[in-house]
């Protein structure tokens, strides 16, 4: 018998087994589907947060204000220092006049009031644009702290809170997702193995006869492993369909809500082909793991 014919035989045996006790298998597939859906959703939300963080990162800029009495020379020296500390960054020196003009533009009609102010109320400043690889809260805080410690600097501003919160959220989601994944994997392995325990019990006569007529252990076990893998694949199919539906409903609304942050590129899709493939692979792996546990524990051949 060719390997393909053998695989077909195992597949048909597994399908027959699933037809024999459809409700038990349906519960296992549903559990797997729900678990994988939760994982897929968590992955999607993490990617949304990544996208938000990236978008916000585009705005991350450190503004270093010089202390009174310091001028262009110190500003340029600071710009050089910032560039040395944060490779890949860009730095621009902003004279008080330009800062005032910008403020005037931002204030619109009220900007005219600034013309009456005496002297130059705004200090020299340096705007440092941080590249994506240097946008972690730790790196930003370290740079800001070093700059604040210089005698020529009166203050440093950046979107510290937003970056820290987003990073915290991303970390919490990843950690929570990993924990949920472990928990969900454990639960689904137990459910799949319990289902297959019942299948093994239901097919005990068939197994006995198989052994009697000379079936190898691998031949007896293979259909149960295929059954577990099939359950995983069906569960992944269910999860993919649910993710697709959720993506259709939720992604446009979320993108609309967060448009001011993410811009025209929008949010990543929940049902990206790569994610669905990962879910299928995870489903098959969990199904196989459950069937390995069941076959190892309950199938004495």
């Amino acid at each position: 018998m060719s390997p393909l014919a053998r695989l077909r035989l195992f597949l048909s045996t597994a399908l027959r087994g699933m037809r024999q006790s459809p409700y038990v298998h349906a519960v296992a597939v549903l559990t797997l589907g729900l678990a994988l859906y939760a994982v897929g959703l968590a992955l999607g939300v993490v990617r949304w947060v990544d996208a938000l963080s990236g978008a916000l990162g585009g705005e991350v800029e450190l503004t270093v204000y010089l202390a009174e009495g310091h001028g262009q020379a110190q500003a340029e020296a600071l710009a050089e220092l910032a560039l040395r500390r944060s490779p890949g960054a860009s730095a621009a020196v902003v004279p008080p006049g330009e800062a005032m003009a910008r403020l005037g533009r931002q204030l619109g009609d009220l900007g005219a009031a600034l013309e009456d102010l005496p002297g130059e109320p705004l200090p020299w400043s340096v705007e440092v644009r941080i590249p994506p690889e240097g946008r972690s809260p730790g790196a930003l805080a370290a740079l800001a702290s070093e700059l604040r410690g210089l005698p020529a600097v009166s203050g440093v501003d950046y979107a510290e809170q937003a970056v820290t919160r987003l990073e915290g959220l991303r970390r919490a989601l990843r950690f929570g997702g990993l924990l949920a994944l472990l928990l969900v994997t454990g639960v689904t392995v137990v459910v799949v193995s319990a289902t297959l325990q019942l299948a093994i019990y239901a097919r005990r006569e068939e197994i006995e006869i198989q052994k009697l007529v000379g079936a190898t252990d691998a031949f007896v076990k293979a259909p149960f492993l295929v059954e577990g893998g099939l359950q995983g694949l069906l569960g992944a199919g269910l999860a993919s369909a649910a993710l697709w539906a959720t993506g259709r409903l939720a992604t446009p609304r979320a993108a609309e809500l967060l448009a001011f942050l993410v811009g025209p590129s929008g949010l990543p899709r929940l049902d990206e082909p790569a994610v669905l493939l990962q879910l299928c692979a995870a489903g098959v792996c969990v199904g196989l793991l459950g069937s390995f546990v069941a076959v190892g524990r309950f199938l004495r051949v």
Binding site: M1, R6, E205, E206, I209, K211, V213, G214, A215, F219
Partner: protein, 223 residues
């Protein structure tokens, strides 16, 4: 074909089921194993198809030492030994043809050969007209014929039958015994465990009598 040297089988905490068994069954022989219930007939058959391992002694089947065989080798030994039980062990939800094909399926016989072999085997046991029936729709004798067909479809050199007529009425009993005789005439070595004395008188063959796990007589005709 089958040889046993000082074979003993004991389960923990129990009296020996078999003690100091020495016998030799030649290729093509028809042998009755007889004795009262609990004499060790079924245990002896189980040793031949490696369902049990001897506690002591040597069991040789087709030149292979069963006791020294690795677990992975046992399925290949069983492919050469057909087994028939009193309680049939048929799959109730599969048709007669599917039950017979089951053996070939396990052995990986190509599909196109399976149908042909099954049809020929059902013809041989006189059940080709019941190929699509389910086992519960058959009489006891017919079910036993299906079991024999399943045991023989891969042409094993040895056929073991453990009380094959135990559940059958006298007419069907003779029917099945004639079939086993026919199998033997075609060259298969047949070992039949039975406590039915009438069979030993009707079919004059070699009879090995067991009592309390020991061979008490070995000869032709009823002991």
């Amino acid at each position: 074909m089958i040889q046993m040297f000082h074979v003993e089988k004991t389960w923990p905490g129990e009296q020996p089921s078999l003690q100091d068994i020495n016998l030799r069954v030649e290729k093509g022989e028809f042998v009755f194993l007889t004795g009262p219930s609990g004499a060790g007939k079924s245990t002896l058959l189980k040793l031949v198809f490696a369902a049990e391992m001897p506690t002591a002694g040597q069991v040789l089947v087709g030149g292979h030492n069963v006791g020294r065989m690795r677990a992975s080798g046992i399925p290949y030994l069983r492919r050469n030994v057909g087994v028939v039980f009193q309680d049939f062990k048929l799959l109730p939800h599969r048709t007669v043809a599917e039950n017979v094909a089951f053996t070939l399926e396990v052995l990986g016989t190509p599909r196109r050969e399976v149908a042909d072999k099954v049809q020929r085997m059902l013809q041989r046991v006189g059940l080709s007209h019941k190929a699509n029936a389910l086992p519960p729709q058959l009489s006891g004798g017919e079910q036993q014929r299906v079991v024999i067909a399943r045991a023989l479809v891969n042409e094993p050199t040895i056929l073991l039958a453990d009380e094959p007529t135990g559940n059958l009425d006298p007419a069907l009993t003779l029917d099945i015994m004639d079939l086993l005789r026919d199998v033997n005439i075609r060259g298969t070595t047949v070992l039949v465990a039975t406590h039915d004395h009438s069979l030993l008188e009707r079919y004059r063959s070699r009879v090995i009598r067991l009592e309390k796990g020991r061979v008490v007589s070995d000869g032709t005709g009823p002991p």
